[in-house]
Point group: C2
């Protein structure tokens, strides 16, 4: 039979699986010679035995821990269950992985009527003794005996009101004794300390199977078999008088990252009082002034722990009657700014390696270097919460249309554009807005994608709002009315909408951050590209480290005011000749735009996707707009309505779009090829090195690729022959339909690259329309039917499996294909890790996600999960 009980001096930090995380750390500190109140740990293996036996503790267990208990008593100089000189315990659960939903700590275990009386005598402080006792009963009843804690609070309040007391400090020893008496009428409380201990151990084990713990394990793939350990530790008291106290401290400043010991201390207070914030703590230096010896011990201890754990530590300690005790140490939480500074400085100090430094920075933390962020401390008046669609914080005047946004911005105002949803026609307003807020749409809705692309803060799917354009208001479910011209603040990182101007921390470039990025580039294998259409976005992306464009959505070039009518006229053409006239005009626009892109991305690959959206997306919707268009392009409104009606679709996402357009209208593809290669020729003549990669979207089989490649090759050769010039180019396919992934081995011989369009692939794999899923995804998350929005974090189980099939089978067929991802997942760290593991060559994301992708790619390559 394996050893079931370990004393604190019998384990180390490497024994997490056996002793739980908390227990392993207590052992480690004990081995370091630190003054840890002594105790023992019951192993996770015992927990497994407990379940196997049908929730029964092993017969010999009590005997085993009684042996350990004897040794603890000797070391602590007090005895468990002895009224003369009582030893009390705290009992905690401790799983190998930190896990919510497990049992809370029980403090002061070992008290009963007799022992409390003894404790009162020994300490000369009956109020302390009875307060501790009533707290213990309440805690024990709540977490071990499953009695509703409300009942106890109710009794205290009743007692206070009938006795004219208000605060806990008004309560005397006798008052607490009376409360204990009342409590005992509510619960069948066990007086035997050993019985208490046994019940507590059982309760810890049973808490492994609370619904919340089960769901958490399922969500995080934690094996059910692990089980939890139980740590039993001697109590020490910081509330014994003025020579006692409790404190928490950080080995470095958790807010700025400065290398400076930083903490708080409360004299004559228990540990939980510091955390609860009942009194305002003093800076930890106050302890130095009053008890320099103890402070010196504390200071040395924290320095030792940081060096030992090689990370900034968050420590808890207690001083009892002038004696210093360490209660806990763990990696300290920190702000983004601090995490970068600490990581970089620790490398300089020789404490950690560059790759370790990379693992210390969570990608969420990096946001702070890219956008202004709402100051968490300043948050107030949160009136609605939507999806955190594009990070950053911004404040501005509310407008309800793109036109208003332009007008107000022209007057120098910062504006927040509020819409039910956005369409490509709103782009001009989105460009000038400081923030975007929509009632509808998910994480990959038009508003979300465009905002992230522009680096503008956005909240989408905020269905707590009801937008009324006519009235110029947005009303929350709670009845708060936001009107045109009101000032509001958006927190794009949390999805919160606030009234008024809330303080923000500015985006700040920092040398440390640049150093970290340079390390990321050194350690990553995945290339990072950006999704961009405009020269400005391309330049920004390059500045942020993009190594090419992974997705240029050519249709975006046709939405500008001076072009959309030409595009519409092309779509509304009734003969091939008529269509050709307008295609010739579009050719000029497209050529010029792509030329600028090639210049901005000189020497880097630019992946250009052929026209993808359904044609009706370009046509006007309202009667008014149709009539106006009719007048502008000189076509009867009746005719426009008729053609638009014919083009309308029930499910446009699964309709006449993508390469299906090339199949039916090869002349559109011919025009696009002319524009791309014509631009490449011009760029070359202007001294640049363009690297065009032409991407065919929404492919279902190899015959489409063959047909379209023929059109592309023919167009290219005509131009190159005429110009007598040679341009390197690639033809590839976007992998968006499940069918393309399942047949990738058949596509392989015909393509040079495959880029996973995981937005569409997710839509089709789930049968979730990204435009409509906002209606039920929140309910799915709320009911824990899914762990994450699959449009944000790539679903590895099905979507990822299709990608895996595609990569493995096409690679087996042909070497040298380049693999990329250009869906929104290309900027999501967890998805980037998956792409790395799958062996893709690059990810492509919004320009502002590029630095995050660089770090995530490095973290994936360094190999260990970030420890956040």
């Amino acid at each position: 039979m394996a050893k079931r009980v370990y004393l604190f001096n019998e384990g180390s930090k490497d024994d997490r699986d056996l002793l739980g995380g908390k227990g392993a750390n207590l052992c480690e500190m004990t081995s370091l010679g630190l003054p840890v109140p002594f105790g023992f740990i019951i192993t996770t293996g015992t927990c497994r035995e407990f379940f196997q036996a049908g929730n029964k503790l092993p017969t010999l267990l009590e005997q085993e821990y009684r042996v350990a208990l004897d040794l603890v008593e000797k070391k602590m100089g007090a005895r468990f269950g002895d009224p003369e000189n009582p030893l009390l315990f705290s009992v905690r659960s401790g799983a190998p992985v930190s896990m919510p939903g497990m049992m809370n700590t029980i403090l002061n275990l070992g008290l009963n009527d007799e022992i409390t009386e003894g404790l009162a005598k020994k300490t000369g402080n009956p109020r302390f003794a009875y307060d501790s006792y009533r707290r213990f009963i309440q805690m024990f009843a709540d977490v071990v005996m499953d009695v509703d804690g409300e009942k106890f609070e109710h009794e205290i309040n009743q007692y206070k009101s009938t006795h004219g007391k208000t605060l806990d400090v008004d309560m005397s020893a006798d008052d607490w004794r009376e409360i204990v008496r009342i409590y005992k009428t509510l619960v069948d409380f066990p007086e035997d300390p050993f019985e208490q201990l046994k019940m507590a151990v059982e309760a810890v084990f049973l808490s492994w199977h609370t619904p919340r713990a089960i769901v958490y394990r399922e969500m995080n793939n934690i094996p059910d078999i692990l089980g939890t350990a139980v740590s039993v530790q001697s109590m020490v008291f910081g509330n014994f008088g003025d020579d006692s106290g409790s404190g928490v401290a950080f080995t470095r400043n958790p807010s700025t990252g400065e290398h400076q010991f930083f903490g708080e201390y409360l004299f004559n207070a228990a540990g939980e009082d510091v955390v609860a914030g009942i009194r305002t703590p003093l800076p930890v230096e106050a302890l130095g002034e009053r008890m320099p010896g103890v402070y010196d011990q504390l200071f040395k201890t924290q320095a030792l722990l940081e060096k030992h754990y090689r990370d900034m530590q968050d420590i808890e300690f207690t001083v009892q009657e002038g004696v210093f005790y360490m209660l806990q140490t763990r990696s300290g939480k920190r702000t983004g700014r601090a995490s970068v500074k600490i990581a970089v400085e620790m490398v300089k100090e020789g404490l950690i390696t560059e790759s370790e430094a990379l693992m210390r920075v969570s990608t969420d933390h990096v946001e702070a270097f890219l956008h202004p962020m709402v100051d968490p401390a300043a948050k107030t008046d949160i009136v609605a919460t939507g999806l955190a669609a594009s990070p950053g914080g911004s404040t501005g005047k509310v407008v309800f249309s793109a036109e208003e946004a332009e007008d107000e911005a022209a007057k120098g105002h910062s504006v927040i554009l509020v819409r039910r949803e956005t369409t490509p026609e709103d782009i001009h307003g989105m460009r000038v807005a400081a923030g975007i807020l929509t009632e509808l749409g998910g994480m990959t809705s038009h508003a979300a994608v465009v905002a992230r692309g522009m680096g503008v803060c956005a909240i989408t799917g905020c269905d707590a709002l009801s937008v009324d354009y006519a009235a110029g208001t947005a009303t929350t479910t709670e009845g708060v009315v936001i009107s045109r011209g009101d000032t509001i603040t958006l927190d794009g990182a949390s999805g919160e909408v606030m009234l008024g101007d809330i303080a923000k921390t500015e985006a700040s470039s920092s040398d440390d951050f640049q150093v970290l990025l340079s390390w990321a580039d050194k350690y990553r294998r995945l290339k990072v590209r950006a999704n961009a259409e405009t020269p400005e976005d391309a330049a920004k992306a390059r500045e942020l480290g993009a190594e090419g464009i992974g997705l240029c959505r050519t249709e975006h070039m046709f939405f500008a005011a001076d072009r959309i009518d030409v595009m519409r006229a092309m779509i509304l053409s009734e003969t091939r000749e008529e269509r050709q006239t307008f295609l010739d005009q579009l050719l000029t626009f497209q050529h010029d735009d792509i030329l600028e892109l090639f210049k901005a991305m000189d020497g880097l690959p630019v992946t250009i996707r052929l026209l993808d959206p359904p044609l009706h997306e370009f046509l006007p919707q309202t009667e008014e707009d149709i009539n106006a268009l009719a007048e502008r392009i000189g076509k009867p409104a009746e005719k426009i309505r008729e053609i638009a009606g014919r083009l309308e679709e029930v499910n446009p996402m699964l309709g006449f779009r993508g390469c299906r357009l090339s199949v039916v209208y090869p002349e559109i593809t011919e025009m696009q090829v002319k524009a791309i290669i014509g631009a490449a020729v011009d760029a070359t003549e202007q001294g640049c090195r363009p690297l065009p990669e032409i991407m065919i979207p929404l492919v279902i089989n190899v015959r489409e690729i063959r047909l379209i490649t023929k059109i592309i090759d023919k167009g290219i050769h005509e131009i190159l022959k005429e110009k007598n010039i040679s341009i390197p180019y690639k033809i590839g396919t976007m992998m968006e339909t499940p069918r393309a992934t399942l047949g990738a081995y058949r596509l392989a011989p015909e393509v040079e690259f495959m880029s996973f369009g995981t937005n569409d692939l997710t839509q089709m794999t789930y049968g979730f329309s990204r435009d409509d899923a906002g209606k039920f995804i929140p309910r799915y998350l709320e009911k824990k039917l899914i762990d994450a929005d699959p449009f944000v974090t790539l679903d590895q189980r099905a979507v990822g499996r299709l990608m895996e099939i595609a990569v493995n089978e096409s690679r087996a067929k042909k070497k040298g294909i380049k693999y990329g991802i250009c869906g929104e997942h290309g900027g999501d760290p967890r998805s980037i890790r998956f792409c790395h593991d799958l062996g893709l060559d690059y990810v492509s994301c919004s320009p502002f996600r590029v630095p995050i992708a660089r770090i995530a790619a490095a973290q994936a390559n360094v190999g260990v999960e970030p420890n956040d």
Copy 2:
């Protein structure tokens, strides 16, 4: 080196791969001792050598076939290239599999100026000789030398007009000789017979690579490597005089199937004349009257061949100067009625086994027993062609709305309902229509699915028609206007729309057909269920052999006029309480309908799918209908518009539907469970044995199933406990999303059956909306980008692969799950074969497809592809 040339007495019918199908049959007949004009065959292996050598005949080949030729000359008593006693050849391609696009036959090979003169002398018939010669030059130039045949026709016509001739019979020997002279100015014709033969052999080999042949092979998975054989056969002539002639005959009547020798004969005519129908042939018995000995030989031959090949034969024969020759035998084409009769009778005659009989009947043939069919001979005035959505033929007066349809039908008129598309609101009109014709929609559109379900003839996606409701007309692209009240005929088997009343053959039950079906039931492993919602459909399905209901779409029960408003009121409810009121009303409807279903399907399983479509599908669309509804249910039109607007979706197919409804509105599921189990209890109390199977639609993961199963189980147990009764029931899932199939192994532990909803699965795997794909699928078929509409024939490569993953992985996880298919593919023979091979337990299809599915399932189990 393998033998390259085989004489007709050196092979057998088993040598198809080596000698081609045609060659193998000639050898077989020769071995049977039948009088086949002798010849030889150049092997398919020689063809492969030819390609490997860069389209060059092997050096030794000519030497080899000259040896064979000597033997042929000896046997035929004439010599190739000898003007005194010339032997002529027919040269044919012959692939192992019959294949369009290959080279045509060349007749009379071996003629040149000198030999023609000799032939004229020998036969004493110069006109015959020169007519043969000019035919040969024309044919040779066309198929070997690739000269446009039009040129030759043009010369003949010019000659005739300048010489005052009209018909070929007006042409004398001299006329044909002059034509030959003119022909020779058009083409560099080789005079050397051996050169002719060599060129013909090369031309046969090269024709293996015509584009048409390549595409055909790709479509039918015929390996490119096979190659074709060349058969070279001595010519015999039926046009030598009155003691000569040609005939074709069938060993049984190909139209009725009667066991009676049946054929046609032309005196003094070549074989091609019989086929071309220049003169009206006589019944073959005429030969018996004039040449009883020859007839006797013919009759014995046909009887021998049928017995030998064990199938009805289609034979060609020629009589030259009183001598009987067999030219060809092959399985004869036959009508559906005949195929069934012949198959069943041949079993009775002991000629074939029951399972062979099953393989002799093509499922297309079976249609004739289920629906009236348009008589192919009577077809005329075809004004438009659409998709053959639901088989059968029907004639009626054109109406343009469901209401008109009802009115006209009430007056006793047969009506054809013509719509742009149909929606559930048209059902009442569809029920009374004799046929349905829609401008839009594919093979799985609403119109198509409903029509097939009702067994009503339908043509969908007929985009050659432009329907104008207001004008009451449907205008074809050619300008033909079909007006309200006009009589038209639909051929649902071909998709043809005809003006007027076209003759039809009545659907006729036949004893033979019933016998065949009983054999099918004996030999199949797959069970066959039907998709049905009404007791009538269920009864019909059962009568046609359905072994349960595989899909009952509960939503169909809410579309009736007296229910739809309750459904709408439920959807428009603003509180759970309000919704419950209407749910309680719906409960009654649903309960009663399902009770009837259970009674109709007493003792057989009934799979009931929980509510599936997006809720907005139930709401009215037009302002007028909204206002009317507002009045009827007493809710402000404004409110209705608002809620309808909120429910509207961009891509409803990927939206808020399926089990997502159960997640958000569990009360709907609770109502449905109450209806189902309540009905089961009542059915049981009425002495029936209901076997409900509750099916959860559009699942993406196991947590949905767990959540909904909990709701279902709870509802069921409440009722069963209250009634103190036990009802066997199953809970299962529809497999429609790619994600469900990829995660089937995770779903397995929670379900008792899985039914593949291949309509949706195809939509998502392809990214093809079945409502919209009509816009591009025809172009895809036309450009050969796909081989078949994936909504008609299951795509095995991707959709089938997902099914395979699902079945294999879930079966590995848990034994005993029942697998079925309930998409439209469940009634498609090719798809049924796939389902059989995959090891599914049942297919479910429209009631009228049940007999076809029974036969297809048997054919799949018997194992060999049907030989049609």
